[in-house]
Symmetry: D2
């Protein structure tokens, strides 16, 4: 089978390797679609993220869907041919965070694509059935791959306390920001304001139905929020840009009593407006992946409440993964989420 290996920063190649056997307690999956994530780009460019270091040829990819090829001994609930999405992080299930339901905080999670755990830019792999989810017939493999970023967005919306009729500012309209936008629009948040310096991404946000889209390079963000909320500022803010200074802006854009969810990884530290935080009794919450959100996101996709296609900009075959990465890294290209298709989508 084919797999894409990152051997060192900037060097990725396709190689034929043996197809894995389906051991007891596992499911063997033929991968159909994998989203390209900002972290994949980061590994490609730097060869590491924090303590996760690419030391030997490594397979990236963790936003994945596919077809069950074989069901390991003792596994119930799956049959060959089942269309599935793969939740990429397999936690230990025995630490206190796992027991409490916050398995995204498990210190021993094995997260696909984060070295040393191989990812899904390949034709076959085995996975833990507990973190494999059947897709309804109406949900495409591309959408199956998008469940991962949608789960991040769901977590951000939840922790920003967004919802019915509350005003929301989303800072940054990259794939995560737009996943948040789509989910916010379909969760009743109103009005929803987006701030994004990139013209193309602003256009997409506009088309998707944002109530107001701001170019923070040309307009004052806080003045724009004030106008877009008839002076009351935002109940909720999601910081999805990771850009310098935006956590500060997020708190300043809040109404008293409001909440910020920070999903954009950026610098090690950030500055916050402390006096404002106190006077507003504002809340800031960090977001890290997700736990228990594949099932509700699948419910929303099944019912057509979220679609996901509007923030997919490109599709590439696995063979063209280097081109995909280079396009995604091109600051002049008009890009959003890219889907790597493996085999024909069907």
């Amino acid at each position: 089978m084919k797999a894409a290996f990152l051997s060192k920063p900037g060097t990725i190649y396709i190689e034929d390797i043996p197809r894995p056997a389906c051991s007891p307690g596992r499911v063997l999956i033929r991968i159909k679609a994998v989203g390209l994530c900002g972290s994949d780009l980061h590994y490609f460019e730097e060869g590491r993220i924090g303590d996760h270091i690419v030391k030997e040829p490594h397979i990236l990819g963790h936003e994945s869907s596919g077809i069950v090829e074989e069901v390991g001994e003792g596994v119930r609930g799956f049959e060959p041919g089942d269309r599935v999405a793969l939740e990429p992080g397999v936690p230990c299930l025995s630490c206190e965070f796992c027991l409490k339901g916050s398995y995204n905080l498990c210190p021993d999670v094995k997260f696909m694509g984060a070295p040393p755990y191989p990812g899904t830019f390949r034709e076959y792999l085995t996975h833990d059935p507990q973190f494999t989810f059947r897709l309804p017939a109406s949900v495409s493999f591309s959408q199956g791959a998008l469940i991962e970023p949608f789960s991040v967005a769901y977590n951000a919306l939840f922790k920003a306390e967004a919802g019915g009729g509350k005003s929301l500012l989303i800072i940054g309209a990259g794939p995560i920001g737009l996943a948040c936008l789509e989910m916010a629009l379909m969760s009743g948040s109103a009005p929803v304001i987006v701030s994004e310096p990139n013209r193309y991404r602003r256009e997409v946000a506009n088309k998707m139905g944002a109530d107001l889209v701001i170019d923070p390079k040309k307009e004052d963000l806080l003045a724009g929020v004030q106008e877009g909320t008839a002076g009351s500022m935002c109940d909720c803010v999601i910081e999805a840009s990771g850009a310098e200074g935006e956590v500060m802006s997020a708190v300043l854009a809040l109404k008293k009593g409001g909440s910020v969810a920070v999903v954009g990884m950026g610098n090690e530290t950030a500055s916050i407006p402390l006096t404002q935080l106190l006077k507003k009794e504002a809340t800031i919450r960090g977001i890290y992946r997700y736990a228990n959100f594949y099932p509700p996101v699948i419910n929303m996709l099944r019912s057509g409440k979220i679609i996901g296609e509007s923030w997919v900009s490109h599709r590439f075959d696995l063979e063209d993964i280097e081109q995909a990465i280079r396009t995604a890294s091109d600051p002049h290209a008009e890009t959003l989420k890219m889907i790597i298709t493996i085999g024909k989508e069907g």
Copy 2:
């Protein structure tokens, strides 16, 4: 000006009375649209609800919108011509419930239409500006009148803990049940199942987009819920029928850990499946009106997330209010929410 008076059970008539003057601190409003509520029917038929007794000719009506005609001395934020919705309950603002933000629980609330406080089936009245809300240009007067039942629905959804990708059962597809349905669909709940014995109301629920609609007279409700949720039962249930035995059904339809919100007033007492409540660690919450929900509902109407027209079945002029009430009370008529229009809607 004209006003509709209920003098005793079954007798309602229109009479000309002097138009009220706009005293300091008040706004004078020309009423344009008023929804007919089940409680109005109950007063018409019985002359009382609990301790609220119609002792002298009484004006019903509390789901209202209109136009500001005059702004009392000392009132800021309104101008003649403003299109507005009227929150009908004016609480004391000094008891512990008001101070805590639960002003719907205020023991001294003055609620329009509940004797001895006169309601809005009339051409003019003065209101407290604090409970008067400006309508966006895109929101019609009919929609303005529907903010009241939408606020009840918002309260029910919130207390049932409904939301993104969670399964929801709504028992009863009368106006409140359908307001809940519309808000649930626009808040990301999925799947949404409705149970309703009336064929016409089931059809409306279907058209509105419920994922599954059950006739509890012909099908077993719990079997239907099981099928509609692929065996997992519902995360959330809203009991909006007030019918005998439905609180019992609501708890039985829950998944472990789920929540029921009861909005349908029925008998004084109800039976619950206690052992199941404990084994499921289920929650039951009572719903009583709403507090602080006009602003978010207006935001949702402005953004088009909710519309409200699909569960309005009839419109009558104020002059025809008796016919409206008699139609609404006819068990053989196909009725949902009725709007009484006062003057031409514009």
Copy 3:
């Protein structure tokens, strides 16, 4: 080693059986103290609780502490001689309830003492290290056994939303009610009112520091609550009696906006005051065991915030377990929690 077997209702005997070997991944524990629970009595009398039926000689007991005798291969974090408490329910860790942190709702939990899973009225057993907790030196084995009922109480307090300066009514002053009382007093709830028909138990509640203790046979419970709260009724109620009609009383004793936690298993169904539930916007929650509460309860015992001794009435040796059960079942005896000591407590 010795173990106590229930062979049929009313017949319990001590038998010598082989001591279990410590298999890989397990810890072998020498049991020191086991609390006698109402469910143990129920099995003794009826031979079953719901679907859990004593079909062959069965070992009861699940409120346990002991000493690590042997540490199985691959187990880290324990050494022989460690003093430990045993959380009795071992869940599957793979269902949706386990993943969400509500492992008490796991349908496949293996709960010690509930047939067919053997309990802890014996000298040795092996346990899952994940559900074995080290005891601080200052916590006795008896206290270690009480962590189980304290965890139920913690769950009840949490779900009744009890806490700093909120008024609380506890209905029923058996061991669980008194565990709730002790935890409530040490969690800042005030005032704390107890209702209990048994004179002895009322005296214990009084000595423990309840602000008011009511005999519901002689006084009107609601009148007493009214007096004890200066007319405002209770923010929170814990129903820990399981007696007929007490869920009804619990809701009636609530202040508007208040919450009831029901921990007392009683009849299959119960009647609730539905109109009051709605008008008060009250909440009723079922309690079923506990999840993730051994660590905080141990923290509270270590810091001396809770003690547990005040609601222990008797201690028996394992050999005298039948006498313990018969004493506990005697309606005329003055009993509360009984501790079965196994070996000398040290």
Copy 4:
């Protein structure tokens, strides 16, 4: 009557002024005890806090208790001779924050002692009966004055999500930090760790029962927290020092999933460890005064759950207020909360 006036920074004097009349709807109160707050010192030294500027001779003081002298027309629920505490902030009760129960966020709050609203360092004043609370006989006037800082502490504990068996770090053992400590100890938090550079204040924290007290100048705070929590770091942190860098420390001292409440006003901005915030999914909340907390704090004082005397260091007569302020400002003095007594405490 006597009143203390601050005419300009550093100049405070006692002057005789006419005693106010009790207008309708008000209560006239003879002040008995007033706590000296850090904000009073700040006004004394700088003549302003933010936009609140001492422009003409101004009476400071807002932590107050006294005796009802006269009850204005139309006021119910009070009688002359009633012992009372005064909640100092009187909000507008008509803005959205007041309606939602967050009246501490009211932009139009009239807060006693914050210019231009006169405070309570005087013998008599009239107050809004809605924000006047009767004291139980067992609560002293000094304790009545401490309800204000206890309410801040209650808010901080609540927003730090502290409680039964959760580990808590309190940074700063000034009066607010120690009020938090007392309330934390009486709310079941365990273990409770305090960090404080001042030797005297560390000693008080120790005597009050903190499980561990750290001198951050001599020990590494994070190492101390690690030791005091057996390696697991803190579930909750309250930052009550306002010192540079302590918000950073607070987040670093958290366990994953933990929460920080910041109550210490310090610099306009602060630096936070952003990557850690995300990886821990930590929460930071700002604290600003309190809303609705006088009643539960009074309940806790009545039941003896909190006392308040242990963090009172000095008592001065009103005549000696300048000496009180100079003592409190002396960096070498061993000071905590100071109570200004007015008339004889009785």
